[in-house]
């Protein structure tokens, strides 16, 4: 253990489950929409529908934050917005650096959702010297050489990596060495970080592959459902060999 302090906070029952934390932003978004429509209170049922979860889960989630509802009535929208914002740490300002200002980095820099909720783009950083000074989303791009200085001067603790895969680990190492402790990684690579640094990844390719798996499965189920009946009118794509037995069977291809 590198840090020499206990893994769980010493404070009492502050163990909000990770799954719950991941849903708080969803609730917050739905609540914000209600707030803008000046809706004063909302029931767990209504809010759950707006957030796309079931109401039991929502109530359980909220129970980890405290007893913020009123039985027989529901939740006070404004109050909940504040409580969840505070719990997520959005009542303070988080400066963020984006490294790698290609297509994706530029898209992120222009993303409005950033500023709206406590996040502020402190700097855009790119390794290409010809990018330096060029404004993207109204912010001048700075060269990678400045990375450490920017992070230290602005007290940046969250970094976004939007570089090519090959550069990601190196950028990550420099971010961490300079003091960044949370990283959002868009590069298709596994990042190695020391204990105490959080990494979340967003990976288009993985998401598509997961969809493809289920899509393939659907095609297979169709085939099963249609077995013995007429073939589907629109054969959307060639049927994959849906099954070849549970195990121990001969694969179609066995290299080497």
């Amino acid at each position: 253990m590198a840090t020499g302090r206990t893994h769980r906070p010493a404070t009492r029952s502050r163990g909000i489950p990770e799954a719950t934390v991941a849903r708080l932003p969803l609730y917050l978004r739905a609540l914000t929409a209600l707030s803008e429509r000046s809706v004063p209170t909302v029931s767990s049922e209504e809010l759950a529908a707006a957030a796309g979860v079931n109401s039991a889960k929502l109530r359980k989630d909220f129970s980890y934050l405290g007893s913020y509802g009123t039985r027989g009535v529901g939740y006070d929208v404004e109050y909940l917005v504040y409580q969840i914002s505070r719990e997520l740490g959005l009542t303070q300002d988080w400066p963020v650096v984006i490294v790698g200002i290609g297509n994706l980095g530029a898209a992120l820099a222009n993303y409005g959702g950033f500023a709206s909720r406590g996040f502020r783009v402190a700097a855009l950083i790119d390794a290409d010297p010809s990018m330096a000074g060029k404004p993207v989303a109204g912010i001048p791009v700075q060269h990678t050489d400045e990375l450490e200085k920017i992070i230290q001067d602005d007290g940046v603790s969250i970094g976004v990596i939007a570089t090519p895969a090959g550069a990601a680990q190196q950028v990550c190492d420099r971010l961490v060495a300079a003091g960044v402790t949370s990283i959002l990684n868009f590069a298709p690579t596994v990042l190695n970080v020391p204990e105490g640094v959080d990494v979340r990844k967003v990976d288009l390719s993985i998401e598509l592959q997961i969809l493809a798996f289920h899509e393939q499965r659907k095609a297979g189920e169709e085939a099963v459902a249609d077995a013995g009946a007429v073939p589907p009118v629109v054969a959307r794509k060639q049927q994959p060999s849906i099954d070849q037995g549970p195990d121990g069977d001969v694969p179609a291809v066995m290299p080497a």
Copy 2:
């Protein structure tokens, strides 16, 4: 139940856990890298390290696919690449449409990882008539009016939504009506879809908020750890009020 067929496939033990499916692309990526370096075999320990998981989990994951390893030796890299690709449905070609060619949509269109693994950008679609015909990533943008025709002609079953939040549900409805059954949603909205349609979402804002939660927590732990000692040399940001008791306490703000 809309489809009138059983929820689980009728075929035998093909119940690959969702968590496993989500990791298969990671393994595949690591294996592909090994394959390019002409590494013939790999142990669960090595491959797990490359994919950023522990080896027991990896072996369990692979056990759902079948017995593809050799005891005392490890896994044949090429063979595994093929098996996982097949399992994920990547041995066939998946045409994909991207709707909403703003900064993000353009970034996605230019993303190389697309073509590399079974996915092909069949069309780029945008509601702005002035975009029509303009090439992005070498592909001419088409107007939303063409959406249904494109999907049906090309047999597209996977759609990517990169529109503003306000347009997302409407686009989603049209995609689904035209035959799309898997959607990757980049818009910050909950999408309502009929049974049988898969939606995965990628939400920058949510990811950042989750990071902020943990970041805030770290700051709190530091404060606890440093209690009674000298303050940290670099006070990275103002300490959030780390805790105000487990529950039943008075909040700082109580609106209405």
